[in-house]
Symmetry: C2
Subunit: 514 residues, 2 copies
């Protein structure tokens, strides 16, 4: 049997500490996996168009309806409903750029969106934080700040934060200010914004503009500067089936009017928010997303916008969403394919799980999101680190586990070369049958870089594992996030910029509080 | 944020018990993922041919050398080395069938090998068994028998056992008899054999023939009956680099001469048994495997044979194999592609991990073997359930976790249809914007079958999870394998057949013991 060849000289080793490597945006070398044939793409397109033409879609914002009405849509003001015909939708969608750049405080961390690039962002929005020491508790600003610090240290995560967890220790109406401030000061990566009404969205944009301002800029000048250089992307959720709530439409339009990036994402539990069929969920998702994309493009033609997919089956036993389910993987791939059909950048999620513990289920469900996300050429993979319990908890140990997963898929995307050098026939000949390659010139020259060095995984022997306390992956992850936080250093930030941002936060706090 | 839409009515539920569903061989609907372009395939082929022509390969069995010498190979008897030129190799390889059938005691469980079929087999060979109750201990026949029972109950696993764990409570020279007897009596699925010398292999074949005999058959008649209807497949390991040991060659030739199926599998730790380069490991694997395939086809043209791949990087920190590493995923896909190039069925592995616990690492490393195995169109995925600790332990909890993984990828391969029925536009229209689909006619008609129902995963609420004892996936798996064993029933077996097998075991035990 093959595994008998396991060498007996396995020495123990401590898991590698997470050393900062070089920031690099992943490129996907593989052709996208296609789960729909051409006819199925056409069928889903046709179904989506019929949904928008015949069922219509609720738009709970007067301004959004006015914009669509002026563009030729049929509107029922009383029902707050809009019917969009395919000519209108497709003409608008065709104006959206297939690729664009998101700008970071550190220009080396600017992010290309689209093409074969893949961006990874962390968890967003849970009201609870958990770790092995303290268990589940309501999340606070300090937890959000720690998550931003971990993001800053993780080259696997190319996008910055946003409302990573709800800072429940702060007043509801002003907490977004502190979340955005943390994101723009504790990391120099691109920020994600919370999109929840005009004011909250505007605050994110203003703080982003200030973070990118030049000395002497007025606030207006700072905003003008980021108009064509987006610094903030935010998820615009659709209240499926077929309803955009007011705050989301305000957010969508506010982002759009300021040249920032709406990531339009219906969240569909098939069987509850769509019929109990993934094909149906994908068609409805397509209708819902394209309606938002069209609104964005009518409001500001050519504005960057992202097509988001987040469809999972309903678990009929529990009434909860079945995150990481096989049908969700298919829906993700089908959604990615529809986005490609319209030449729109695609967003999905990376680390979804229903598990409450950073255990085997958490890992396999996360990979059931991450693998298809990468195979389907997702451009922005959010929720890719730290998500647990259906998104109700952010877990620090899960965060580290997910970093390992992202690093592993990233390494998988570094396609090995097949060349005379890499084939090393001369070494095979020299070592000959029955020899070994452990200390050859070729091995010595390549072993440091040839193979992925894990962050969290151990390959120690059983005996060593017992000696080091029988730690499972979660226990090791617990040590790793602590080590990471110990060596965190805040990235450079111009004092004037910081002052302007702090002044803005203080002013807005006073205004909102008043 | 999307996850806010999480419904609050999540009720707890007990994990589903593993109910026996219908035995069905998985078919892969996706085109195989290709990691090599045509030029790379040609380059690897060329490199392999040069290895066999210039470096040669050790064949530590006089009969194997005689067969190859008579076919025109250059042989150095003193060095026990053989050089094979490409004409000889490729002519022989071309005789191997691209598809064949493995026959089971229950004809409904016959296995098609090749094409778009995927077969799954369990762990093989660990000297230790482990579970959450008893921890690690040397494995015994009773453990092997329990594993066969679990295989029998698991429709996810379409192949039977073999030497699942070493029954260390039995004498080394006769334990294979009891392992094979257990496999042919406790399940009616296709058996895998231990291939370790002529006698052990022959015993597996004889017991297989007796299990398939008709009333009144002599042993010779029983063997003749399975000559063209293979009932046993066995892994022939290559002692890389470039060496076939004597017992493996005896096994290969014994299987071949009786019409049974050698699964030729080099086990390569790149950096130790090949240069530290996955391209090199794949080229060497190709050379080694094709040499064995050629020997098989020269000994008995047209005999079924399988191309196996099992290449992983060496972990330079520990000196151990890096199972489930990203580079291993690439090597698996490249190996599958080479096998397709020669139109040979391909074998890889499914649940490889270096972890000692049934934890997150065990799960994600296993999926890093299983996903590429499925995406690369592996025909036989062995080691797909229960493997832990680099194959040194079989874990009962990991076995259940792996069943869930196999079921999930299997469900992913059930491509949803995109049709008028599945799009259900009428329902979308009827429910309308802002409605819900929870109790519609369509949902009621489909919810039971539309979505995968997990074996192990839970989607219960946090509160329920706390109430049910904060069990992680491993703890739930512990309950599940016990439940499965409680409801195990031995499949029907003709008394005369059982008697003949028991008589054979007794006779051989006496012979070997003498």
């Amino acid at each position: 049997m093959a595994k008998r060849r396991q060498p007996t000289r396995r020495r123990g080793r401590e898991p590698a500490t997470a050393e900062p490597s070089r920031f690099q945006v992943l490129r996907n070398p593989w052709p996208p996996m296609e789960v729909l044939d051409e006819a199925a793409v056409a069928t889903i397109h046709e179904a989506s168009m019929r949904i928008l033409e015949e069922s219509g879609i609720d738009m709970w914002d007067g301004e959004a309806r006015r914009i669509l009405s002026q563009a030729g849509a049929r509107v029922d003001e009383g029902a707050r409903r809009v019917w969009l015909d395919r000519g209108l939708v497709m003409e608008a969608v065709s104006r959206a750029p297939g690729r664009f750049t998101l700008y970071a405080r550190d220009p080396a961390k600017n992010l290309p969106v689209g093409g074969d690039h893949i961006l990874f962002g962390a968890v967003g929005g849970p009201p609870f934080i958990t770790d092995l020491d303290g268990g589940r508790r309501p999340s606070r600003l300090a937890d959000l700040e720690n998550l931003v610090r971990l993001i800053h240290l993780s080259d696997a995560l190319t996008m910055g934060g946003g409302l990573l967890v709800e800072p429940l220790d702060l007043p509801q109406r002003t907490r977004h200010l502190h979340a955005v401030y943390a994101d723009f000061t504790l990391t120099d990566k691109v920020s994600r914004a919370s999109v929840m009404g005009r004011e909250v969205t505007l605050d994110a944009i203003m703080l982003g503009a200030l973070a990118h301002a030049r000395p002497g800029d007025t606030e207006a000048e700072a905003v003008a500067r980021v108009m064509a250089r987006p610094v903030v992307a935010g998820v615009v959720s659709v209240n499926s089936p077929l309803r955009y709530d007011g705050p989301m439409l305000e957010g969508l339009l506010t982002l759009t009017r300021h040249g920032q990036v709406p990531i339009i994402t219906p969240f569909i539990m098939a069987g509850a928010m769509s019929p109990a069929s993934m094909a149906s969920a994908v068609a409805q998702q397509n209708a819902e997303t394209l309606a938002g994309v069209a609104l964005c493009q009518i409001a500001r033609p050519g504005n960057p916008v992202v097509y988001g997919g987040f469809a999972s089956p309903l678990d009929m036993q529990s009434g909860a969403t079945a995150f990481g389910a096989p049908e969700a993987a298919w829906a993700l791939l089908a959604g990615a394919q529809m986005a490609r059909h319209y030449r729109l950048p695609f967003r999905s999620s990376g680390a979804l799980t229903s598990s409450q513990a950073p255990d085997a289920q958490a890992a396999y469900e996360s990979l059931f999101s991450l693998w298809p996300a990468v195979m389907g050429h997702t451009h922005i993979i959010t929720q890719a680190a730290g998500w647990l319990d259906g998104g109700l908890m952010a877990s620090l140990e899960k965060f580290v586990i997910d970093l390992e997963l992202i690093q592993m898929v990233s390494r998988f995307c570094e396609r090995p070369t097949v060349s005379e050098e890499s084939l090393a026939l001369e070494m095979i000949h020299q070592v000959g049958p029955g020899g070994h390659h452990l200390e050859t010139e070729h091995t010595m020259a390549h072993y440091r870089t040839a193979f992925y060095r894990p962050l969290l995984s151990t390959r120690m022997s059983f005996e060593n594992w017992v000696q080091t306390g029988r730690q499972d992956a979660a226990a090791r992850a617990n040590q790793l996030w602590k080590e990471m936080l110990r060596r965190y250093e805040r990235p450079a930030l111009d004092e004037g910029v910081d002052e302007a941002m702090r002044a803005y936060v203080a002013r807005r706090q006073a205004e909102i509080g008043a």
